[in-house]
């Protein structure tokens, strides 16, 4: 059974690892914003958020900041995720799910290629 004391080991390990997020250059941060209003949650935003957290950790993407927001504005296209690059370019992905998240992480966050087929511009095609 896990106990809270194990957290001290995590702490010790992380303190040795100087690459804590605060050290990152703010200019290189990519922001991932997941819409978590009632309609987003009902449509499946929680597993989408959790998949981003998991993928970002597994791939060690230190320059990616996953956050959440309330309503993004288009209920029928939820779950919605916005990705904002350090230069301020925004891509809006719609009707997301965990599988789509894996692809977006690999293509967009790692290789810097927008996954056009999941974007809002392609939503009604």
């Amino acid at each position: 059974m896990k106990s809270l004391e194990e957290l001290r080991a995590i702490k010790a390990k992380m303190q040795n690892n100087v690459q804590l997020r605060g050290v990152e250059d703010a200019d290189s941060v990519i922001r991932v914003v997941v819409g978590m209003a009632t309609c987003g949650i009902a449509a499946g935003a929680r597993p989408v958020l959790n998949k981003f957290i998991e993928e970002v950790q597994n791939r060690g993407l230190k320059n990616v900041l996953v956050t959440q927001t309330g309503c993004i504005g288009v209920c029928r296209l939820e779950p919605i995720v916005e990705i904002i690059t350090p230069t301020g370019e925004k891509t809006t992905y719609v009707k997301m799910n965990a599988d789509k998240v894996s692809k977006v992480v690999h293509e967009h966050l790692v290789n810097n290629r927008v996954v056009e087929e999941y974007t809002i511009g392609n939503a009604d095609k």
């Binding site: 702490k11 804590l20 978590m36 009632t38 949650i41 309503c71």
Partner: protein, 183 residues
């Protein structure tokens, strides 16, 4: 909502929006008493009587992006539809309490679902809020106080991925030991 744990996430997000410093989430499930209940208490901005009287009406919201608030009316309806009860009380400047219970064996009762995932999403998004999560079953009781987690971690933020992963496992292990969250 497909899972009660999603309602919990949604209602607790209201507390986050209300600038709460402490949010308490109590889940209790009892086959013996045939009831599942959820209590969410915060010390946020609260609501005045006027707002409170209207808040279960789906046409009430202080949000600006659309005209209806859905979270509270939805939870209320789900409770009532399963022979349960809903209650909300609030005081401006003091905080808000939301209670919902459901008849455990009612055919329309949604499953409790992944509460660990809900609690962890909340902590991840608001690492500075103190969350108290209590979960009770006929077998026992489990409590997580993020203040205690913070005391162990010192200056390491709660939303570091390693910590989040650990918390998820910790909650799930404890829930298993009291056979919680399975119904």
């Amino acid at each position: 909502m497909k899972e009660l744990s999603l309602n919990i996430l949604d209602i607790a997000n209201n507390s986050v929006k209300a600038k709460a410093g402490v949010i308490e989430i109590d889940v209790s499930e009892s086959e013996n008493a045939d009831i599942v209940s959820i209590d969410i208490t915060d010390d946020g901005c609260g609501m005045d009587e006027h707002m409170l009287a209207k808040v279960t009406d789906p046409f009430v919201t202080t949000r600006t992006t659309r005209k209806v608030g859905l979270g509270i009316p939805l939870l209320r309806q789900q409770a009532i539809d399963t022979d349960g009860h809903f209650k909300i009380s609030s005081q401006p400047g003091k905080g808000t309490k939301v209670h919902a219970d459901f008849r455990l064996t009612h055919l329309d009762r949604p499953p409790i679902g992944d509460v660990a995932s809900t609690v962890v999403s909340l902590i991840f998004a608001s690492p500075d809020i103190r969350f108290l999560y209590k979960h009770k079953t006929d077998k026992g009781e489990f409590m997580l106080d993020t203040q205690e987690v913070k005391e162990q971690l010192g200056d390491i933020p709660l939303n570091e991925p390693e910590v989040i992963t650990w918390l998820t496992e910790y909650i799930n292990e404890n829930l298993q030991s009291i056979e919680g969250g399975k119904i």
